[in-house]
Symmetry: C2
């Protein structure tokens, strides 16, 4: 099969959802256009932004960084070392080697040094690993962005991730989660940085193909702590539907994002006027989702955590409470050991 764009080279990537097949060079053009269109449509990034790209060592985040560098954005990579035996070392290596290939060195947060490596935290606290990991990452996204004067944090969530999450939120009608699900979470000042997902229009397969054809070396293993994640069940269900009806995912997600969609209207109507801090650069429609504050739900403007200063709706933010519980569990163990 020939490339449907240049009609000369052989097609290397077939995309049923776009009725298309591309040679590598034309696929790069297509993929980058999808990403830049996704950025433009939802005004995720401005040319003057300083972008903190969260890189895990997986394909999505490294591809995201690659595209943003190529598009001329000012970026730095943030690698959070979760402290997971073997997996964390292997991912870190991929991040460093990719960064070096672009003449960069990533910012590193080491959770072991911060006193809260994920596996130990999960043993100390009765919470799911993925939930702990979310709280911890959210904390450092805001903190590192503030310290490094970044104007925005970008993560590598792709269309498959976002639609799986949307399906889960719809199946259980999780109103709060639905109200906050968007590729753009506006910043609100007070330590809450804007968060964006520039890969929202591209699928996992497309992202993997881009990474592979670009020769980006990434970890292919899934995080060993997320193996049972329910999001995989939703992802698999949507994959089967997409296989039978190519294009379903993008129609599903774009329909959800449409400001005139009945669900969005209903969610906005339901959000009390004072429920959200005012986004620093957003419209009133953004207000309903400007609440990615800590792990808590709250109304009004968040205050500063009494311990670390992070934005929160409680006195002590959920990150500091988590850390305190790990510290307590450690002293109990140490006391037992010395008896």
């Amino acid at each position: 099969m020939k490339c449907k764009r240049c009609r000369r080279a052989g097609a290397a990537v077939e995309l049923p959802s776009h009725h298309a097949a591309f040679c590598p060079d034309c696929f790069f053009v297509f993929f980058r256009r999808q990403v830049t269109e996704g950025i433009r449509k939802l005004r995720l990034l401005a040319p003057e932004d300083r972008v903190l790209v969260c890189v895990s060592g997986g394909k999505d985040s490294l591809v995201l960084w690659d595209v943003l560098i190529d598009e001329g954005y000012e970026t730095e990579g943030l690698y959070i070392d979760l402290g997971i035996d073997g997996y964390s070392d292997r991912s870190k290596e991929k991040v460093f080697s990719y960064a070096a290939s672009r003449g960069k060195a990533p910012i590193v947060v080491d959770l072991a040094k911060e006193g809260i490596p994920i596996p130990e935290a999960a043993r100390c606290v009765r919470m799911q690993e993925c939930s702990i990991c979310g709280t911890v990452k959210r904390h450092f996204f805001n903190r590192v962005a503030a310290e490094g004067k970044f104007t925005v944090v970008a993560t590598g969530h792709n269309l498959d991730d976002e639609t799986a999450r949307l399906l889960g939120n719809l199946l259980h009608w999780q109103r709060g989660h639905l109200a906050r699900q968007h590729p753009l979470l506006p910043g609100t000042g007070g330590g809450l940085v804007r968060k964006v997902k520039p890969l929202w229009r591209v699928s996992e397969v497309e992202t993997a193909a881009y990474g592979f054809l670009k020769g980006i070396d990434y970890v292919t293993e899934e995080c060993p702590m997320s193996e049972d994640a329910t999001s995989l069940v939703y992802k698999e269900a949507l994959s089967r539907i997409e296989d039978r009806m190519p294009g379903t995912r993008i129609v599903f997600y774009q329909g959800f994002l449409d400001p005139s969609s009945p669900l969005r209207k209903g969610l906005e109507a339901a959000a009390p006027a004072d429920a959200s801090p005012t986004p620093e650069d957003g419209t009133t429609a953004d207000a309903a989702r400007a609440r990615d504050v800590d792990a808590e739900e709250g109304t009004g403007a968040p205050r500063a955590c009494a311990s670390c200063g992070a934005p929160t709706y409680t006195e002590i933010c959920s990150f500091c409470r988590l850390k305190e519980r790990v510290r307590e569990a450690r002293s109990v163990r140490a006391a037992r050991g010395s008896r």
Copy 2:
């Protein structure tokens, strides 16, 4: 395993979504309670209703008829003979034999005699079989109900059917379909009868178990014309999710029906005030879904079809237009044959 209700007899039906397992007698009680609760919660039926039960010969509709008879409702069965070779004869036989066992004889509409058997209609008209079948059935539901002075029409759609349809409507954000999806479609007078789905709370597996344990003999084959139906893709996807997370389907559907759900609020807000005929016995909230008029979308009150008098938004209703096209195709064929 013992029955979790009486704790004496052995369990014959295990229901993970209800954390339950029942012996046959206790399962009958459970199943009937689910159906009557579904009727009560949404006020689908009143004791004085005359119910026209649409029976296809499959498990769902025969089980529905069985439960409604046992619950003391005044019912008659309506069998529409679609004219599908073999399948229609086998289904009709099951309907007659079940009806006879309850001392009843079904009302029969024979589409071949009406000049519009589904397979021939599908060959003549460029429309999907399932879509033609829907138009034709809707027409006869209203007509037979009016002729027989029935106050309501009941169909055997179960929780699996309704959630598969809901998922499809959500994946494509089909606003009109979402606004009209409900176990209760209020009647509006003018030939539009109320339509209800009393089995909305029970799953396909539960309905099949009820039919089997009650000794109801039903056709097990799917309609041969619906084999490629996309609804089966959605059903299968939801089955996989339900297997992993029992109870997801009922949470999904009940959350959708919740009058305070953000989607429902958004759909009601979007429906223009004059878009719907006023339901004869419903609330204003019902108005958004009182539009099961013909296959057309329209605003205001429907008028009577110039040819048959059925409610429609066009001069000639979609059923009469369909019939006319079949008639034309026949004359063309007859003219060719006589040459």
